[in-house]
């Protein structure tokens, strides 16, 4: 749309920012429930009864973790959920950057006495979690709900 010449429709779209400005007060909901493009952002966020679920997908390495972190934090700081559930059931690969991602969120949630739950770990991801001792700081749920092969 952006590159199109300013036709009638183009002008109409041009008014969109005004509309969004009016929505500003509510916009964090739009922001939180936004579905992100799969290869740019490996994340889907959902809020239910004070629990924020972050469904991650794709390989979680340093490259992906940096982007995912920003989005989770922006939403979490606004909502301040009592629990952040990090769902790894669609994550085929994770390295220590994923552990850093979890530990960083534990630290963030602790600012308002919230906690982190980790779910959907594959056997490989579970080994990584065990090696790190991250289980002492989070609740790790059973990984029987895997959506992708690891």
């Amino acid at each position: 749309m952006k590159n199109k010449a300013p036709t009638e429709i183009g002008k109409k779209y041009g008014q969109a920012p005004v509309y969004w400005k009016q929505m500003r007060g509510l916009s964090f909901f739009a922001h939180i429930f936004k579905k992100f493009g799969s290869d740019t952002m490996n994340l889907r966020l959902e809020l239910k009864n004070g629990t924020m679920t972050a469904a991650l997908s794709g390989d979680i390495d340093h490259h992906a973790a940096a982007r995912v972190r920003e989005e989770i934090d922006r939403a979490a700081e606004q909502v301040r959920p009592h629990t952040l559930r990090m769902d790894f059931s669609s994550v085929p690969f994770m390295d220590s950057s994923g552990i850093g991602l979890i530990l960083g969120r534990v630290r963030l949630l602790s600012l308002w006495q919230g906690g982190v739950t980790v779910s959907g770990l594959s056997p490989q991801l579970r080994r990584m979690a065990e090696l790190s001792g991250v289980g002492r700081l989070t609740k790790i749920e059973d990984g029987n709900e895997r959506k992708v092969e690891a």
Binding site: S97, I99, L103, Q124, M128
Partner: protein, 147 residues
């Protein structure tokens, strides 16, 4: 004797997007060995750690070239070498201690621990101001029927 039966070399700029490319390339190179899925996953993880360290620490405030090479030996073992010409490590022994990190809040300090757990051998040489070289060695078991 440990004779080299195949080898590859590559280099790429230290952009974080290349972390996935690097472990994918190693994985593709080794696929002909028909390795056990777990063995390959372990090595991929270790490669990801070494490359990420070059990107994040070696070339902290710049973009430099990461050099990666791999050798397959006749006994089924594999060497993967990841090298950078970045800042280098002052005290390698200390850097390799689990939980040691200079990377701040978002790093767990586990990269070397993961490499050591997931590989048979990890060799690190480094010189401050010159760069760092990490060689990962792992014996890959071949897949048998039903595995």
């Amino acid at each position: 004797m440990r004779a080299v039966v195949n080898r590859m070399k590559m280099q790429f700029p230290s952009l974080s997007v290349n972390e996935g490319f690097a472990r994918g390339a190693v994985s593709a190179f080794l696929l002909g060995l028909d390795p056990l899925v777990n063995d390959l996953a372990d090595l991929k993880t270790a490669v990801s750690e070494a490359v990420t360290n070059a990107v994040v620490h070696g070339y902290r405030d710049t973009v430099g070239i990461v050099y990666m090479s791999a050798k397959i030996f006749s006994d089924g073992s594999v060497d993967v070498k990841v090298r950078d010409k970045g800042c280098g490590i002052e005290d390698v022994e200390k850097a390799m201690e689990p939980l040691f990190t200079t990377g701040g809040e978002e790093r767990a300090g586990l990269g070397f621990a993961v490499m050591q757990t997931f590989c048979d051998r990890v060799k690190v040489t480094s010189a401050p101001g010159k760069g760092t070289s990490v060689t990962l060695t792992k014996r890959l078991s071949q897949k048998r029927d039903g595995e």
